[in-house]
Amino acid sequence: MSKNAILYAVILIFGLSSPFIFPAFKVQLSILCVLIILATTWNIQGGEMGYNTFGNILFYGLGMYLCASVQVGMFFPLAEWTESGGEKTFVHTPSQFFQGMAVGLLVAAIIPTIVAGLIGYSILGLRGHYFAICTLGLGVAAGEISGGIEIIGAGQGFTTPPFPNVGGLEARGEFFYFLSFGALVLTFIAVRAIYSTRFKLILNAIRDNEDKAEAMGIETMKYKIIGWMVSAFFCGLAGGIMGGLVGYIDSTDVAFDGREMGVFMVLMAILGGKGTLWGPIIGATVFHIFKEGFWTFFLGWQYVALGVLIVVIVIYFPEGIMGWLREKYPERFGEVVDEADRKAQVELK
């Protein structure tokens, strides 16, 4: 317990001080927080529940559009904003900006949750690869359809309100960093709390054998929907923050970006280790560092690298970093190992 408390304190202190230690990387650190949120919430489906979804990008994009639309629509006519390209005609005062952001983030978190609850019953009845392909279709359909809606900018995109002119040059980066870090802490606390209850055991039962879980008297559908709604809540929140951070929303390249973010979250969770609390966090951090390095030094080849990376990780490293550590040091994970048995197994191989 005390060991864990020290670990959390160190991470918290590091998280709170890092924008001042690395002032040049504030945006990158904010994006890292968002990536960790996405990977952690994907893990609720893919890792714990065994439902490999490509569709969480739907909630992410939805949250992004909702947050920006609310932020603009509270004070100015939305249609004129998108038509004029935003910032040129209307200017948010600081109080308007922060009020709009607060309400926007709330809406961005709640509406996707409701959407997940509504579509959950139909979608989560599918199993295995049908579920995967169906959610893939859902994400791409959302991107294509939102790209045709005029009021949110259609094909030419949607400029989110620019940060007001308060608190000097560093204020924008610090605001978004602490916003995303706060969201990350919230996510981590919530997910950790969830993983210490019976709910997690039910999710694992669904993953291991859904029919048996149902035969044991668990209302699997209810828990699957709740699990999806939890994911949707935090994905929407992350999307809202990311929209403000990027400053520009495009339907298929930023919001419903199944080719980037939608795959990233799956990849990060698998890289770190599915079905563990820390796996997605480690995976997201490693992936983000790798990605930024590659994106900077080999610009243009990033998708080639991404494609190769996906294939390599999926084929040769499906258990992830945490899985590998667990294999290597089972004692650290609280597993009792019979040495003789282990040796016998090694010999068998």
Partner: protein, 297 residues
């Protein structure tokens, strides 16, 4: 929303004919999908990208002054070897594993191909002009490019050839045996590894044919692959594995649906409506099966 399509019967005829001819192409791609799904139990997300790659082969022949219709012969031959290469490098490691692994691995291949094609051929929308002209029907009210008729004709010929090949040849029988029971086939002396490689190669070759035809009839673009994958997946789940007439029918049905969606909703919602239809079909099947307390497997 534009309901002109219902007020002028000629537009309806046009949409139906376009859709049917387009659907035959979809059915050809879907047949490849059904083949690999049935035999190797993998879902290939890179299917659409193989189609586009096949299209670029025909387009390149066009650029170098060869008539692109020859791409129908050349493209499947090249694509067969590319398919076997992909099998040897990646697919043979995911055949026995979880289906999700195959989905994710082929998703990686799809991203890789997209970007490599973008580097090699540029991000422009291109088409290989066949110069076949157009046919006018019903007092010039319905225009039908001859290239579309040509492509439908070629697809049907290829499909028939493949069906006969699968029925009669030794490899075809081996493929069907492996699809029924891979272990039993192995015991009876079928080299399943070879069969898998050949199946993936044949699938890629079919994609090559379809791609060459698409580059003649429509346009190709490096990032256009995924909709073709989704279409073929949809056709296969509607028709069922190993049901060739069903694949042809549902392919044509999808083509007609798309043309009407194009007219009624507008071109910007065309791809979106395809993906939405996939979701609706899956949800419909899920409710239909859940009445019997079953689920899609």
């Amino acid at each position: 929303m534009d309901f002109m399509v219902f007020q002028y019967p000629m537009i309806t005829v046009q949409a139906c004919l376009d859709g049917l001819l387009l659907g035959i192409l979809f059915a050809l791609i879907a047949y490849g999908m059904a083949l690999q799904w049935g035999v190797m139990n993998i879902i290939n997300i890179a299917q659409g990208d193989l189609v586009i790659l096949g299209g670029y082969i025909a387009y390149f022949m066009y650029l170098y002054g060869i008539h692109p219709a020859w791409g129908v012969i050349v493209s499947p031959i090249i694509m067969y070897f590319i398919g076997v290469g992909i099998y040897k490098l990646v697919i043979n490691k995911v055949v026995d594993r979880d289906l999700f692994i195959s989905i994710l691995a082929t998703f990686g291949i799809s991203i890789l191909f997209m970007q490599l094609m973008n580097f090699a051929f540029g991000a422009d929308v291109v088409l290989a002009n066949s110069g076949y002209g157009t046919t006018m029907l019903f007092d010039n009210n319905v225009t039908l490019p001859n290239s579309k008729i040509f492509s439908a004709f070629v697809s049907i010929i290829f499909a028939i050839c493949l069906v006969i090949y699968m029925k009669k040849s030794k490899l075809g029988r081996a493929i069907r045996a492996t699809a029924q029971n891979a272990r039993a086939a192995k015991i009876l002396g079928v080299d399943t590894e070879k069969v898998y490689a050949a199946t993936f190669g044949i699938n890629a070759a079919l994609c090559g044919v379809a791609g060459a035809l698409i580059s003649i009839t429509f346009t190709i673009h490096p990032y256009m692959g995924l909709p073709y994958t989704i279409r073929s997946f949809m056709i296969v789940i509607v028709a069922g594995l190993g049901n060739l007439p069903g694949v042809a029918m549902s392919g044509m049905g999808l083509g007609v649906f798309e043309e009407f969606a194009d007219y009624i909703l507008g071109t910007e919602f065309r791809i979106g409506s395809v993906f939405l239809l996939l979701v609706l079909i899956l949800v419909y099947r899920r409710f239909k099966l859940s009445r019997k307390r079953e689920y899609l497997k």
